[in-house]
């Protein structure tokens, strides 16, 4: 009996590595600390009512933001572990298996559990405010999306202390990811962690398409809509076409692993290339899913901080839409060297290069927005300015990679690694950070400290170039991705050391940002006006933080940058308060605990599938079914905020008389 418990425990818990034991201890301590705080301050009710059951898009956005920053920390620690291992030849810091797990989780977490939620956080925090809506189209579904993401991410994350992490790369090519070569539970965690959160992502895509198409303020024609909302629309369109492919691909891999299928192995008549095609049919559009909203953020910030209308609005919209279509015709450039043949390679090479055309046009439009403007170098604008050179160089190396025969030399090398980190950090991370700095005062009511922010900015930027420029060179020296060690003979040592130093500089930059947030909570400059940056779009017309119903009176938005135009008409005098008689009761969605419980049931089911414990999987799925049933019999899903409450809130904010 004792022996069988012991052998179970040793396969269930990951053992044998001091780093993992450290993680066990810190996870344990953090959990105890959180529970202690909740019990000691009797915050359980508050947590449940205000957060776990909320359907308010602003709170959901904040939860996305917190989760994504935690994941940025986790993925960042993974990155630093890798760079430490590669700092010099023949380092014995991580074992091969451990290193493989670290780079697999780094990639998966950064794309799916950091970039995606940070993006959804910004969608949620900004889009309804920007288009003059009181919530998203499906607030309940929005909560479902968040909790599915959250529990999917948790399922993926526990793999490194329970059962073992996936180690077949972030795209898990078969046959390496099949039972034959990855018999442990790591790949199951990969399949179910992503699958559960992926359903949430798809739902978010649908939610925001409907929100943007159906819930814009009166007068806001599509071609008057702010650029960020346009970018969210184009990104959501890609989501609804790309994510179903991911869902199906993972389901097929699941069939191979659990039911002994041979969909992706040659020996049963399947084909691993099928998987590679499918995963990249999702994977390449995914890159544009995360980068397009960043383009929208830059457009907003450039216009605001240059005090000038965005240049070439129509061609910006056209560029967004053409990128979202072209993004589906480039996936083969991830495997030019898999023998697809010259016709196929030429088509996908040129389609890939073609993406550079609208992207390049956008860069020029941003530049000419600044041209003849008045540029204020505050934090959001600094990140935007840092993005331009970084992304231009990253885009250029992307075009170089698209040259199919030359790609035979870059493929799987550090040149590729440097390129995609340059577009993903320079484009996506810088973009989202710019967006967070920009909209932070709107959502939280205070600005983030400028001095600490500048430290973070310079550390991130210098660290970035020091880290990734050497990697281009390493690619030309023949260094391939995912090697956990290398010898002295190839001369890769010095450049790798420099690269590692750069990575740690970025890590210190992140520490400064955490410090900045903690410091600003207490000492940050409070935003009493609701319009700290002299903004142009509707979200700046309401108080910071916005009341639960956003707009007491639904605004009319007949112009592009309508808030700015209105301010110009008023000669920048403060808006006159609204007479109380004009206020009405406001229709709002009711909170619900079902999304949380529903997603927790998915977690249980996913955990059961991971360990092949059918009883647990069935239990979880029954829970999923029951929660769905419960919801379908809930009729009391909305209510009216009484007009007295609206009046009281608005008078307190000085917005009504």
């Amino acid at each position: 009996m004792y022996a069988s418990i012991k052998s179970f425990a040793s396969s269930f818990f990951v053992t044998g590595d001091p780093l993992i034991y450290g993680a066990d201890v810190s996870i344990g301590l953090t959990t105890v600390a959180i529970l202690f705080v909740l019990f000691y301050f009797k915050k359980w009710g508050w947590l449940w009512r205000e957060w776990l059951t909320t359907v308010d898009h602003k709170k959901i956005g904040m939860m996305y933001l917190i989760a994504s920053l935690l994941m940025l920390f986790r993925g960042g620690v993974d990155a630093l572990l890798m760079r430490a291992q590669l700092a010099m030849p023949n380092v014995h810091f991580l074992q091969a298996e451990h290193y493989n797990e670290v780079f697999t989780t780094h990639g998966t977490i950064m794309i799916l559990f950091m970039a995606m939620p940070m993006m959804f956080g910004l969608f949620n925090m900004v889009v309804p405010l920007q288009i003059g809506a009181r919530d998203v189209a499906y607030p309940y579904l929005n909560a479902v999306s968040f909790w599915l993401f959250f529990f999917g991410a948790m399922l993926f994350n526990i793999s490194f202390v329970i059962g073992g992490s996936p180690d077949a790369g972030w795209l898990s090519y078969p046959p390496l990811s099949e039972m034959s070569h990855s018999p442990g539970v790591g790949q199951n965690f990969y399949i179910w962690g992503i699958q559960i959160s992926g359903i949430g992502s798809l739902a978010t895509g649908i939610n925001f398409i409907v929100t943007i198409l159906k819930m814009r303020a009166p007068g806001m024609k599509l071609m008057k809509m702010p650029m960020f909302s346009w970018s969210v629309l184009s990104s959501s369109i890609i989501i609804i076409f790309a994510f179903p492919i991911l869902t199906v691909t993972l389901a097929l891999l699941f069939i191979d692993r659990f039911l002994g299928g041979h969909l992706f192995t040659m020996d049963g008549g399947g084909n691993p290339m099928m998987y590679v095609n499918l995963i990249w049919m999702w994977g390449h559009p995914e890159v544009y899913i995360v980068v397009l909203p960043a383009f929208g953020i830059f457009s907003e910030i450039v216009a605001t901080f240059s005090r000038k209308r965005i240049f070439g609005y129509k061609s910006m919209v056209f560029a967004l839409m053409s990128i979202s279509i072209l993004s589906f015709f480039t996936w083969v450039h991830h495997f030019f060297t898999m023998g697809a043949g010259a016709d196929v390679n030429v088509f996908f090479a040129i389609a890939t290069m073609a993406i550079g055309i609208p992207t390049g046009a956008k860069v020029f439009n941003w530049l000419f927005t600044m041209f003849r403007g008045r540029i204020r170098l505050e934090q959001p604008m600094l990140w935007t300015l840092a993005f331009i050179p970084c992304f231009v160089v990253g885009g250029a190396t992307g075009v170089m990679l698209a040259v199919a025969p030359a790609d035979y030399q870059y493929h799987n090398s550090y040149f590729l690694i440097a390129h995609f980190h340059q577009v993903l950090i320079g484009g996506v991370v810088f973009g989202y950070l710019a967006g967070i700095y920009y909209w932070w005062p709107k959502l939280f009511g205070f600005k983030l400290n400028e001095r600490l922010g500048k430290w973070a900015f310079w550390l991130w930027n210098i660290g970035f170039y020091v880290c990734f420029m050497p990697q281009y060179a390493l690619g030309f020296m023949g260094m391939t991705r995912r090697v956990y060690t290398y010898g002295w003979d190839l001369g890769w040592g010095p450049l790798n050391l420099v690269s590692t130093i750069g990575a740690f500089l970025m890590g210190i930059g992140f520490v400064f940002q955490v410090w900045q947030i903690l410091y600003s909570v207490k000492y940050g400059e409070r935003d009493t006006t609701g319009d700290p940056w002299n903004g142009r779009t509707l979200e700046w017309s309401i108080p910071s933080p916005p009341p639960m119903y956003n707009f007491a009176v639904v605004p009319y938005a007949g112009e592009q940058d309508s808030f700015w135009e209105e301010k110009e008409r008023r000669d920048f005098a403060p808006a006159p308060p609204v007479p109380v008689a004009q206020l009405e009761a406001i229709h709002m969605p009711r909170n619900s605990g079902v999304p949380f419980i529903f997603s927790a049931c998915w977690f249980v089911a996913g955990f059961g599938f991971v360990f092949d414990w059918l009883w647990m999987a069935i239990l979880g799925m029954v829970g999923v079914g029951v929660t769905l049933l419960v919801r379908s019999f809930q009729y009391d899903t909305d209510y009216y905020v009484p007009v007295e409450e609206v009046i009281e809130t608005e008078i307190a904010a000085g917005r009504a008389i």
Partner: protein, 335 residues
């Protein structure tokens, strides 16, 4: 204050980059920039061409960015024009949509030319090409020389100035076969045999590696490529033949078990080894191998070998084609 911190950052950046260049200058071996054969040469020229074309766009953009940011700063006394409502210019839009289209047109044309050029079999010369069959294993490389009937592990000798017809497969997860100085890589995949033509112009030793992740000891999947004169190559073949170290079927099974390996050479090997490895991993499901199923295993005489070559050549196969062919082959049951 603001300005000096910015300047400091810039200085740091420049010193950092200069440091990188200097360090790499004295230590590194830029194998991709050191083409030693016609394939690598073509790819190298394309890399340089694309870098120049990109630089034509990138450098002016960076210059314009710096100019605009300095000129239009919001600081007291800035006399630069401020036109908050100027947001459209057809001329400018046509310019910056047009220039990238032209550049990508040029680059696309060169890309197409060389993609087709390299996909074709090289021009036949009076020097007969040599064939080498490559199998990626966990975690080592097996090279078979069907004409010489010898095999090596983790190193390969080739005659210089002779076209080499590498035939690639895998008896493990898919890998990618890469000798940067001779030319770009190509995937090795279980159940498929792909063809990669490379050539070394001069004698020398080149670095070869696996490029696609295959698990635990992937980092050690490196091999040495020795290009030498035909006479030296022949001498080497004789010495390997004389070593009297046969690779048997059982020996192959041992070799194929996961683990690293030192360099090894074998004086002979079972002649159908490569084809049987392809078949074992599901090669019989591939359309192009259909006629192979009924045939006796390929022997070492020239004629049947050239058939095998035709049968395995996947150059013109797209991924989609293969998937289609599989469904019709699902009920094949030769194992």
């Amino acid at each position: 204050m603001k300005k000096s911190s910015k300047l400091r950052g810039l200085m740091l950046l420049i010193t950092g980059l200069a440091g990188v260049l200097l360090l790499s200058g004295c230590e590194g071996k830029f194998v991709v920039f050191d083409p030693q054969g016609p394939v690598a040469e073509t790819q190298y020229r394309l890399i340089i061409l694309s870098a120049i074309l990109c630089a034509i766009v990138v450098i002016p953009v960076l210059a314009i960015t710096a100019f605009i940011v300095i000129r239009y700063r919001d600081k007291p006394g800035n006399t630069a024009p401020y036109k908050p409502h100027w947001d459209d210019s057809k001329v400018l839009e046509v310019l910056w949509w047009g220039i990238p289209i032209i550049i990508i047109g040029i680059l696309g044309a060169y890309t197409a030319r060389d993609t087709y050029g390299l996909a074709k079999k090289p021009v036949v010369t009076d020097v007969k090409p040599i064939k080498i069959q490559v199998t990626s294993l966990d975690w080592k490389w097996l090279f078979q020389y069907p004409d010489q009937n010898i095999a090596t592990v983790n190193y390969v000798h080739i005659p210089a100035g002779v076209q080499v017809d590498f035939e690639l497969t895998s008896d493990a997860p898919m890998n990618s076969f890469w000798i940067p100085q001779l030319g770009g890589q190509e995937y090795t995949m279980p159940g498929m045999a792909m063809s990669l033509w490379l050539q070394a112009d001069r004698p020398g030793e080149y670095y070869g590696t696996g490029a696609n992740f295959t698990g635990k000891d992937f980092a050690h999947m490196r091999f040495n490529v020795v290009a030498e004169s035909q006479a030296d190559f022949n001498k080497w073949v004789e010495s390997v033949k004389g070593s009297n170290n046969e690779l048997t079927k059982a020996g192959y099974e041992t070799l194929a078990t996961p683990g690293q390996s030192d360099e090894q050479s074998f004086s002979s090997y079972p002649s159908d080894l490569f084809d049987s490895v392809v078949m074992k991993n599901g090669g019989h499901h591939m359309d192009m191998n259909k006629d192979e199923d009924s045939k006796a295993p390929a022997n070492s005489d020239d004629k049947s070998k050239s058939d095998t070559k035709e049968g395995h050549d996947m150059d013109d196969m797209s991924g989609m084609d293969m998937n289609n062919s599989n469904s019709s082959e699902m009920n094949h049951n030769h194992q």
